[in-house]
Symmetry: C2
Subunit: 343 residues, 2 copies
DNA sequence: ATTAGCACTCTCACGAGGTGAGTGCTAACT
DNA sequence: AGTTAGCACTCACCTCGTGAGAGTGCTAAT
């Protein structure tokens, strides 16, 4: 399935134009506007061929042509060239990340904001997910009578907390002691190892508090397995400016999707390839947004994937720009995260 | 400004009908449907009076009447009676909160979900805000070389964390020691007291680590002042079912508002009166949602306000139901929070 | 292989006419 | 004096027909 140069040129021009105007594009306009050097009739013939090959579609006879999903795919893979970010945009990113950010959640949020701002589409960011990581620290903090808060710090700097009921005869000293012992034992161990040897050792050392420790272990496991990936969504408002969302029904289905955090997480986490990932229409495994495209990437620390970012827009998306934005922000994010959690 | 019984009856019927149908209501339908016992002509006269008094409005001559903001206000204050929750609905709330919830953020989220589900409008919940509370615990957790994580636990069970750069010659033992000393000093002190006496004492005791401690104090203050109230929004999708949002422009402005977390927080926090709070149209201090109403309440522990919940819907809202829902959930929330953080 | 020309198709904007729900006013009724 | 029936009038909305405009496919000439 190769296209000759002229067909490529024409397909490129059609997609370019449709992305810009959202109107079906006709042969006459095209030939004139893009100085193709041939007449509209020739273009018409080529367009008919391209349609037959599945790269274009016609909303109805005697309207112009519109790119098909396959057309966009070809465009992204072979025709388009990424549109570098402006210096002013790079500057914006630099400034946003420069002001000392001290918490993961802040970084996530900033990233999301930049993502929408620069792409003008909807941004999605999932923050580090906890499973399969190491334990860094645990801490029991006495709260009111009979209660304590269990703090769990996981490897890439995720903090989780849980409330615990305490047996009545426990002193503050006990809590500290338990924290200390457990910390020593678990230091640097994988979550998966916990179950076996270590728990026994801890039990042995803390016989008196056996039931409490059991409860703690439950909670620790619970929190490390917790799917509560924090998710940032932004610029939903942005995407409504696109003419394809001039129809309330569409907006409704889109919002319906976006509110299902778990679904979004799954879609975002479903990116295996390294680098920037473009999914067009039905390539996103979600029926309801088959007229959207999604550009995403994973970010990582020490080569280990810890989260993903993505933008969501109509299939008629400014791929060239959006891809560059995602790429640039991922690189920045990798750097920042590595700096925060170099180990 | 008092209304005779018949006028009240008619106003009530109009609002009731308009809430149900979203159509301007006319005299004939009204007289028949609500068995007013008088003819449509009489009703017509009364309606003209009510309009003159500012309780009704006419979209155009020869359409029916529509309640004005003032009309809704009168309805809420004098005509309506709260619609108790069904047993099945109460059961739903009970079940949702019963499964052991261990984190504030979970409670917040559940509450939000219930709020939309029961009211079928958009739900907003702001979680406990940190300012003006006591410090419960701080902890330095060594992370990678040269870095530590500072955990700050505030009174109502809010946990914040920050990354810190460390001077190179610090040992793990030092960190623990510092944590212990600082904890002892600050135990139970108000944030506002920190600046003065306590810091001096800590300095005196930790002379060697003066610069580190200064940095810690900065971060602690920063985190306690942090406006990062966690906010839950849900059911945006829900509200789009209302016919008033059949217009994309409206949806856009609404979403524009909802994305400004800070603005939402301010609006939610702007509730002084105890109990359920009804704000109609322009009574919400935000120009862009002057055709919405908001029903909110604060929730508290030991009489101290720690957050708020609210639902947002069109001014043509099921006040009777929504008010009951907010009331019921606030009561539940108060109870749960008190149980979690009884002191 | 390319192009000019032409008939054909389909959408969209516009205006006219009809319909129906609702109003205000007046005069008659209790 | 309050209530009601009757009537003329208003206005949004639906439908239908028409014409303009943009675009296509096909054919014949270059």
């Amino acid at each position: 399935m190769t296209l000759d140069e002229r067909k490529k040129r024409i397909l490129w021009a059609i997609i370019q134009d449709y992305i810009a105007t959202a109107e079906p594009v006709g042969s006459r306009t095209l030939a004139r506007k893009y100085k193709l050097g041939v007449s509209s009739a020739t273009v018409r013939n080529e367009m008919a061929d391209l349609e037959e090959m599945g790269f274009l579609e016609q909303p109805h006879t005697s309207a112009g042509r519109v790119p098909s999903h396959r057309g966009y795919r070809f465009y992204v893979d072979h025709l388009m060239q990424p549109e570098k970010l402006q210096d002013s945009e790079k500057e914006l990113v630099r400034v946003s990340f420069e002001t000392k950010v001290k918490m993961i959640s802040e970084v996530i949020q900033r990233t999301g904001q930049l993502l929408t701002q620069l792409s003008s589409y909807t941004a999605m960011v999932v923050s580090p997910c906890a499973s399969r990581t190491r334990l860094r620290h645990i801490q029991l903090v006495p709260m009111s009578r009979g209660q304590a808060m269990l703090l769990v710090v996981l490897e890439p700097g995720i903090v989780q907390h849980r409330m615990m009921e305490l047996p009545p005869d426990l002193t503050v000293g006990d809590l500290e002691m338990i924290s200390r012992v457990v910390n020593e034992k678990i230091k640097g161990s994988q979550m998966s190892d916990l179950k076996l040897t270590i728990i026994r050792e801890i039990y042995a050392e803390l016989l008196r508090h056996k039931s409490l420790v059991a409860m703690m272990m439950d909670l620790i496991e619970d929190s490390s397995r917790s799917k509560e990936d924090r998710i940032y969504l932004g610029g939903i408002f942005n995407i409504l400016n696109e003419p394809e969302f001039n129809n309330v029904e569409r907006v409704k289905t889109l919002l319906g999707i976006l509110e299902q955090e778990e679904l979004i997480c799954n879609i975002l986490n479903d990116q295996d390839q390294p680098g920037v990932n473009v999914r067009i229409g039905s390539e996103i495994s979600c029926e309801d947004i088959k007229d959207c495209s999604m550009i995403g990437a994973n970010y990582e620390v020490d080569g280990q994937r810890i989260g993903s970012i993505a933008v969501l827009g109509p299939t008629r998306m400014q791929y060239a720009k959006a891809i560059s934005v995602v790429e640039y922000l991922t690189a920045n994010l990798n750097e920042i995260m590595s700096k925060m959690y170099r180990s």
